[in-house]
């Protein structure tokens, strides 16, 4: 405020405030700043002074005004100050929750794909729950294999003692025969249990190898077991043939479902009718595995690395070897022969193609090729 004096012209007006405050002008950060009157007074500058003057810079638009500028009115509240952090934390919690839900439901590929069998095979990842599973599986029956296959019943805790092949071994001291196909290493040395491996779901547990190694040790006096062991350069390679090894070890339930050629044809036909373009090799194989595994549970042989392929040995059909099950492919020699020569019928998914080999046929026939470019 100014005081008016009548002393003389020079002293007519008196400024009763600190002029340094007056002239410091619009210093932000200070409240009740003394320069406000001066700053306000400039609103009344002569019009002609403003004629050709405009503000420097450009005004912000609604799009580029930050939320902080939009919201801040005076000192920011605790909520305004930390709301971005809260929002980020909330988003993280929601995202984690969704991932967990999708994992549980088996919808999230890469986490639970396991060809859609995550929920069914969850005990492969949690062998410590075998006891609980044993209780749950007391009423073992064929339906246990309708989805998820024989691999549901690998561990001692998981395979019902009432199953025919195991009825005579309730008190066995054998270690838990858990897991699906064991910890595998493919020809290129790639760890198949790597999280990045699309086939990891089929090789979810490292215990299978241990079980095979233990079986070899326990049957060291068995000529047939030694013969099997000798047929592999490394006993670990045996884990690559889970179904055959289960047969050799007399662990494969006789009611284990198998794929048939008709099943495969139906699956491929259905897939082709509902096909979508642009699928990658991994996606195609994952989709095929998901369908096949609903019946077979898992591939019989899996090669990862550059030559990604899955092999499913097919159920022998009438006229070829109808007494297949009775003959108990546990006959070591025939099983090994089947393994080596692939004289059993099988389908093989390699890349974007599915090959079929008939019983006793050493050649392969192209069953289906997926062309991602065809809509």
């Amino acid at each position: 405020m100014t005081n008016w004096s009548s002393d003389n012209k020079q002293n007519k007006r008196r400024v009763n405030r600190n002029a340094s405050d007056y002239l410091r002008l619009h210093e932000s950060g200070r409240q009740d700043h003394g320069a406000w009157p001066l700053f306000s007074a400039m609103s009344d500058l002569d019009d002609d002074l403003l004629r050709d003057v405009k503000p420097a810079g450009t005004a912000p638009t609604a799009a580029n005004v930050s939320e902080k500028k939009r919201a801040s009115k005076g000192k920011p509240s605790f909520w305004n100050r930390y709301r971005k952090s809260f929002a980020a934390a909330a988003c993280l919690i929601v995202a984690v929750g969704m991932v967990m839900i999708l994992r549980q439901s088996g919808l999230l590929k890469g986490f639970a794909d396991r060809s859609g069998e995550k929920a069914i095979h969850h005990h492969y990842d949690a062998p410590e729950q075998a006891e609980n599973d044993l209780i749950d599986n007391q009423e073992f029956n064929h339906s246990d294999f309708t989805e998820g296959s024989f691999n549901n019943a690998k561990s001692e805790g998981e395979i019902s003692p009432y199953a025919s092949n195991f009825g005579d071994k309730p008190g066995s001291q054998e270690p838990a025969f858990s897991a699906s196909h064991g910890h595998d290493v493919d020809n290129s040395g790639q760890d198949l249990n790597s999280d990045k491996n699309p086939y990891r779901p089929f090789y979810a547990s490292p215990h299978f190898e241990d079980s095979i190694a233990l079986w070899f040790d326990e049957n060291a006096l068995s000529e047939s077991a030694n013969q099997v062991k000798d047929s592999f350069s490394d006993p670990k390679d045996a884990a690559k043939y889970p179904r055959l090894m289960l047969m050799l070890m007399d662990r494969l339930p006789d009611n284990t479902p198998r794929l048939t050629l008709d099943d495969v044809k139906t699956i491929v036909q259905t897939f082709d009718q509902n096909r979508r373009s642009g699928m990658t090799t991994t996606a195609f194989q994952s989709e095929m595995a998901r369908c096949f595994n609903k019946i077979a549970g898992a591939p019989d042989r899996l090669i990862c690395g550059a030559d990604q392929q899955m092999t499913y040995f097919l159920k022998r059909v009438n006229g070829v070897n109808d007494n297949y099950e009775e003959q108990q492919e546990s006959a070591v020699e025939s099983a090994l022969q089947a393994m080596r020569d692939k004289t059993r019928p099988y389908i093989r998914v390699e890349g974007l193609t599915i090959w079929y080999s008939a019983e006793g046929d050493e050649g392969e026939m192209l069953l289906y090729t997926y062309n991602p470019d065809v809509p």
Partner: protein, 197 residues
């Protein structure tokens, strides 16, 4: 009246005085950006700046019947500037306390402006005249820089960019001009016994 494009100041003023709502649109069209930038520079809040511009147009609408501004731009800038300053002061007032008494006083002030308010306006106009006199003596580029900083509240970096100078040079120039203004105000009779620059 046929609308010009862009509308001239005379045309807009005429629209205001005819009480035509096109005056508001024309004002936004021609001076909306300028008014918003001025409000933004003072308030630094998007919604407040928008409201400030809206209030300016409303005030212009209300005052246009009684006032025929010589310069529409200066008139609008004055209104928006005062609106923005009032808002900043209101914020400051709210931060001091719950502001209830201030609200009551504001309500009463509407009924009868105080002598102090009238005196303050006179003082303000006197001070503005003194500053205007000082600025008239300045070269155009110095005057522009001073007004951009202290009238439009632009940042020194924006001024420097527009004037082709460094920010430091702008600050130095503003410092010298403040010193000169201080001396000018002292010569106009404003008390100087506490001045320290």
């Amino acid at each position: 009246m046929a609308a010009d494009f862009p509308p001239t100041d005379e045309h807009i003023i005429a629209l205001y005085q005819q009480r035509s709502e096109e005056a508001i649109d024309a004002t936004y069209q021609k001076y909306g950006g300028l008014l918003f930038q001025l409000a933004w520079n003072i308030l630094e809040n998007y919604e407040d700046a928008e409201e400030c511009v809206n209030d300016t147009c409303l005030a212009a609408w209300n005052d246009a019947a009684d006032v025929r501004p010589r310069s529409l731009k200066s008139w609008l800038c004055r209104i928006v500037r005062n609106e923005a300053i009032d808002r900043v002061r209101q914020r400051t007032s709210q931060k001091r306390g719950d502001g209830n008494v201030d609200v009551v006083l504001d309500e009463l002030a509407f009924c009868l402006p105080s002598d102090e308010d009238t005196a303050r306006k006179l003082e303000q106009q006197e001070l503005a005249s003194a500053i205007s006199a000082y600025l008239r003596e300045q070269p155009r580029n110095r005057r522009t820089i001073f007004l951009q900083r202290y009238y439009f509240a632009s940042t020194t970096s924006d001024i420097a960019a527009e004037q082709g100078m460094t920010s430091e040079a702008v600050r130095q120039l503003l410092y010298r001009m403040r010193q000169e203004l201080k001396e000018h105000l002292q010569s106009e009779g404003y008390r100087d016994d506490e001045l320290e620059f």
